[in-house]
Symmetry: none
């Protein structure tokens, strides 16, 4: 009834791989790719340097594994969250917030993982590219679903929306990082989503007219507020 020896050993191997990735993740986060030292990663895991190379061909492969782990997590969270939300707008809000938060919290690591390292010209054929595709597929599905439901404009190429969404979010994180620590990003995200939705959502006739009037009424309210202030 002894379990075949292969199993536990195999499990130990997978366990070790995970620990190496975890250590690498910490090291990359702390020091960036170039200054991360394989020796330090090995030391943390408690193995010899050579052992790292039994699991990963080289430093780049290690970064890729870290990136894959991050992307996997992101993709899973994104997919799970989307499944629990019914309306397109809500789904986009969820994806935006998820992406924004993760990017903000692990800026250095994620930029490193997402920016094709060293601006490779062959990014398209990269493993990193495939990881990215898998992640944004969740976004794509949300959009396609929204188009089918008539909520999203059918005339816009998906790629344009995607670039505007994720590009805008990345820049938004960058901007947010310039603000004092602890600033609440939610109002900004609301605006972002508002603009993005306005850009891509189909306009049901009535709602459209109402929305067009929105800024004007808002300005009127501002004027009113000022008048009130004067009278007080």
């Amino acid at each position: 009834m002894q379990a075949p020896a292969g199993r536990p050993r195999r499990r130990r191997v997978e366990e070790k791989e995970r620990r190496i990735i975890a250590a690498a993740r910490a090291e990359f986060r702390r020091h960036g790719f170039d200054k991360a030292r394989i020796a330090e990663i090995a030391r943390r895991v408690g193995v010899a340097e050579g052992t790292v190379y039994l699991y990963f061909a080289n430093k780049n492969a290690l970064l890729l594994a870290v990136a894959a782990e991050i992307y996997d997590g992101l993709t899973r969270e994104a997919a799970a969250g989307v499944e629990e939300i019914a309306d397109t707008r809500g789904r986009l809000a969820f994806l935006a917030r998820l992406h924004f938060r993760r990017l903000l919290r692990e800026w250095r690591l994620l930029v490193m993982a997402m920016t094709p390292y060293k601006m490779a010209d062959d990014y398209g054929s990269t493993e990193g590219y495939r990881l990215n595709r898998a992640y944004v597929r969740v976004f794509d599905l949300v959009i396609r679903d929204g188009v089918n439901r008539g909520e999203i404009r059918a005339d816009l190429p998906l790629g344009v929306m995607r670039d505007m969404f994720y590009g805008g979010l990345e820049y938004a994180v960058r901007t947010h990082r310039l603000r004092p620590a602890g600033s609440d990003p939610d109002p900004m995200l609301d605006h972002f989503l508002g603009a993005f939705a306005a850009g891509i959502m189909a306009r049901p006739a009535a709602a459209g007219a109402a929305r067009e009037a929105e800024p004007v009424t808002r300005r009127l309210e501002e004027v009113a507020a000022r008048l009130e202030a004067m009278l007080r």
Copy 2:
């Protein structure tokens, strides 16, 4: 009786500085930052390596000077172009195309010039940041002007629009680079502008219902303007 040597000497110095920057730009473009060699830059200019250090404190300063040159050009082109266009939408189209083209053509150099700052924790206090601010100020003016004209929603923070615009464009370039060489980016840019405008414009003169609402909102707008004038 000594002729004022300062001028011509100064001119010679500036001339040499320009030549160093030009050589650096070529070298950075060809090899990227890390593999660019100061020695090669000096050789091209025809000076000793040490001489480069009389003009620039270090390699980073050299990259910064190159970036500054690029940004200056961009900023000038952007400002000049905007001045010749009357309507906001046309201005944005111009800025988008300009940015897209430059980024596409000098992707490596521009990403290089921007990436270190992306990851830096003190980006806000960076010279690179200041260069960037000067450049996007053109965009900001276009937007503010558009808001004043009532063409652009007044409720959206400028920063959100800016991030969506430039973030979206950067990602669009990245996407475009994955397509076969020579692909025409214009249709995509049109869609991008369409979506962006729809997101931020107060009245993309489009939807039928919206059009009917027009007289009403216009009258409201006029009322608001008069009230504002009174308050000022």
Copy 3:
């Protein structure tokens, strides 16, 4: 009633040893000693790396086994060929051609097998040395036989002839390798043998004057032999 397992098992073991040597030979030939990888040898044989070390103490021992195999083959061929040839000159011609061809064909492997010993200070106590001795013994026997028959000068130390023969041949191969591929080495080998024979043969039945001197020297030789016999 247990069948004597030793035999077949032993046979299997020897079989595996042979296969390892064969794989090592191929690997060494292809990549040279330093770049030959034990792992690749094991893979080819279809055993684990550790298994190789059950048969050979280390990489050097493996090279030695390969060298031994080569030397054994050479030695056997040399001995067999010499046995079938009657005259000394013909025997030397055979040995020269055999050595030349083998060295030419397996230059890299054979130089590799010999070079470490070239430089080692303890070459004399080396296994490689013993292998070499066994091989050149065939040459030695030919020479001794030739001396006994009066065909070869008795005054020359055997070692001198041996060094000239094999040293000359090794350099001849080296020279031949510089010539265009496919060049015919035979004319060169004929000249080599001619010069070598002229150098060591007692009477290259050639020069006229030498023939006249023959009776005199023969008589002197006889006197010397008699005196020597007395002294012994």
Copy 4:
């Protein structure tokens, strides 16, 4: 009257190059190529490691420089010695002794320098090959001169003689190294030269006969010496 600054600096540079080569020579001799450490060479010269690379592109270039120095010395000595000797046989004896002694004294370094390093297949296009050619050219001239004087057989290709000469000598050194330290190599060298000369020298009728008798008379003299010893 100040000497141009270029000179002494240039002289210092050449001086440093010499010192690096000398240190490398010592290091290579002691440890062989692979185990020689650039760091140690730099330390001995008293410069930084990087400085070594200002003078030599890499470790191989350094070995080549050492080899060149050795070859230059050998070539010069060989040429000078030959010039002072009139007869071909004497010249060959000189060259043989010179080569033998140098090879014996600096066996490791010279084998390293002479053996095309790592058995390169493109030895023919190697700088090492050119150095070697320059050296053996002295031998070639001696031979050609001997042929012109009628002392050396005109029917033998020069390459054959060269290979036999230097190949034989290399093997002779190897053999000699197996003998007890301090053994006198001269008798062996005499025999070597005797055999070599017999192999390549043209035989003037008379001299030929005398020469044939030589070994016999030598043996007679040995016998006489032993008889004398008995009578003493």
